[in-house]
Symmetry: C2
Subunit: 398 residues, 2 copies
């Protein structure tokens, strides 16, 4: 890995469990040693897939990668790959930020016709919880996982090409690779990557191997056979990169291919542009369960504004799109580039007021969230069970 | 735990992976905080079971316990218990020392009509191996486990009451309790108990929870139901006690009963009375696969003698039974107390020579090992599969 910036004290904290401070993504790419996604790579994806790139690619929301170009070389040479993403179930309702990797993964699955595995790390959330196990036992995390699975599937994954699993159900199958990975990582190394302390429980220390294992196709013999080495692409937020740096580090020692990665920026909190949206700070998040009225109220009340203090001043000086959360959210969810450019111009010039900008966001979010709710309502326990069934995939290899 | 002897430098090393130096069992009981098995307890077992105690109890080979008296109280009040023992598969052939806990467990199963679970820790042996994983991969340990299972079953366990499992097969079922235990043990605590170093792999650090989990009956819902709290008795060599001290420590925090323990002394190496027999030192062990001729040759050549340098001196001064390995082995395997007392008297007085004592041992071992080999030859892959099947036990609760 390249040397990072030495000014450690001023650096924001970015670990899989904590994101604090203002994140400078250019610095993060340099520190983590990943590669920025340049326009030429986006164009290449458009050429290969034969369609316009996803909003998240065009807007550099997925902004960094590891070995994506090599994966595309293989793909163009006729070698298929599979997608791996996941979720740690931590609260009963997902917020918009939680949908970002799944929306993007759905796009990747569609355009590359790629099989997909989705890991629900109910074990991780139990091990890392600060709540008393008597108050929130393992079973509670299993239930959260099943609830969250419905929201994930509401994103529209293809049953023919998607295998969803909870660690506490599927671990028997992962266990051989988990052991191989654990054996290849010392406590020193894990502490260096994840910052573990002596007071951390032993399950936390060993857990990274459980998140690493699905990046190797032999963890899914029912999908890929026992010995196939199918390349893997992992779409995830940049804070998950430490897990996969570790995974990529051990891969050659296990005789496995390194997984490729594509990293997103964080979805910002409603009340400010620093860090990522968190379900645990009130007013910081819009949930996928919010009503149209709640969305309107939250955006109007909490969305941090890049506008000026008075209408007069705003008309004269214009708004700051880079700090305006309503505008930032539109860059995620307003697909129409021209319309977004118009809004940006109008806001920066002072023609559009903060309330008008928020109204644009509300108009974009309300139908999107309503559509999610409708899709989720159609996901039954039987749907979840079908996606979670250990089975061959019908269209894999076809 | 009571304070141990402060003279650490002079203490023998006793961990689950290493036993070095001359072990003073009285000191060990004091250090570990367990309870010596007094004659009254042996008599109580005889009274409850209605038969003479096993040689290993009469001769104090099983010499120490934790909560065994309480377990017997429960048993006498009509509460059944289950037995849990296990083996880490480390070499293709077992030696006589490996049989000791299984011979004793078979006795306990018979006299208490107790269900028994036997854990094959193939995962542990892979994680703790110093051999290159490319040379000895996980699959090799799985195979060793299956081979060792045949030797274990040759000890005569009752199919109706015995469930045998390899961790790499059964982990899915253990995993909920493994997670609960891992969450209750910090790295500091694990390091304190097991002496882990920073350079140890993260799998080793987390493994103790896998050995602890079978001590809780909810790890076997197919045997005991989901919520039953069936008390557990663990027969094991004293070096395994650290695992179960940890288990007993976390049990109340998980709302579980502490398992009871019954500890054996180590089976001494042929070439000396220190430490335990090890398959990795040539000439130190008699294997269950040894022929009658090999047994005779090994005993005559390697068994450390407590006899004198010359026949004349031996006749005059007598032999030292406490240091004589042939005599020590007879205390394990010669059931006839009167005959053993006669031999001891004859050897100590100088009437019996070292060669004659060795001949006694050879006469005891040859049929025992031959019988084991015959029993093992009758164990097929199908036998193993039947014992390993996840199934209810026919006679449990009857």
């Amino acid at each position: 890995m390249p040397e990072g910036d030495n000014d450690v004290s001023a650096s924001p904290v970015v670990t899989p469990w904590n994101v604090e401070g203002a994140v400078d993504y250019h610095k993060l790419v340099a520190e983590f040693g990943s590669t920025p996604i340049e326009p030429a790579l986006v164009q290449r994806i458009e050429r290969i897939t034969g369609e316009r790139a996803h909003t998240f690619l065009r807007r550099q929301i997925f902004f960094s990668h590891r070995d994506l170009s090599q994966l595309l070389d293989w793909y163009e040479a006729g070698q298929p790959f599979y997608l791996y993403t996941g979720r740690g179930p931590s609260s009963d309702a997902l917020h918009l930020g939680h949908l970002v990797p799944f929306m993007f993964t759905r796009y990747l699955q569609r355009v590359f016709r790629a099989p997909l595995v989705i890991q629900i790390t109910d074990d991780e959330k139990f091990l890392f919880s600060k709540q008393d196990a008597a108050v929130r036992p393992l079973e509670a995390y299993r239930q959260l996982g099943r609830d969250n699975a419905k929201d994930i599937l509401a994103c529209g994954f293809d049953l023919e090409r998607t295998f969803l699993f909870a660690d506490t159900d599927y671990l028997a199958h992962l266990y051989p690779n988990v052991l191989r990975i654990q054996r290849a990582v010392t406590f020193s190394q894990a502490r260096g990557i994840f910052g573990f302390q002596d007071a951390d429980n032993i399950g936390k220390i060993a857990f990274p191997a459980v998140q690493a294992a699905p990046a190797f196709s032999s963890s899914f013999p029912h999908l890929f056979g026992d010995n196939a080495q199918v390349p893997c692409l992992i779409p995830c937020a940049i804070d998950q990169d430490p897990y996969f740096r570790m995974t990529r580090d051990v891969a050659p020692r296990l005789g496995y291919r390194k997984p490729a990665l594509i990293h997103s920026k964080f979805f910002p909190a409603l009340h400010g542009h620093q860090g990522k949206m968190s379900a645990s700070i009130p007013g910081s998040a819009i949930y996928v369960t919010d009503s149209a009225a709640a969305i309107r109220k939250k955006v109007n009340k909490y969305a941090y504004s890049g506008g000026r203090d008075t209408v007069e001043e705003h008309r004269r000086l214009g708004g700051d799109c880079d700090r305006d959360i309503a505008f930032q959210y539109l860059t995620f969810f307003l697909d129409d580039d021209e319309r977004l450019a118009d809004i940006a111009e109008a806001y920066r010039s002072g023609r559009m007021l903060s309330g008008e900008l928020k109204a644009e966001l509300i108009r974009a979010l309300q139908p999107m969230v309503a559509q999610h709710q409708e899709a989720r309502a159609a996901i039954t326990e039987e749907t979840v069970a079908r996606f979670m069934q250990v089975r061959p995939m019908a269209t894999w290899g076809a």
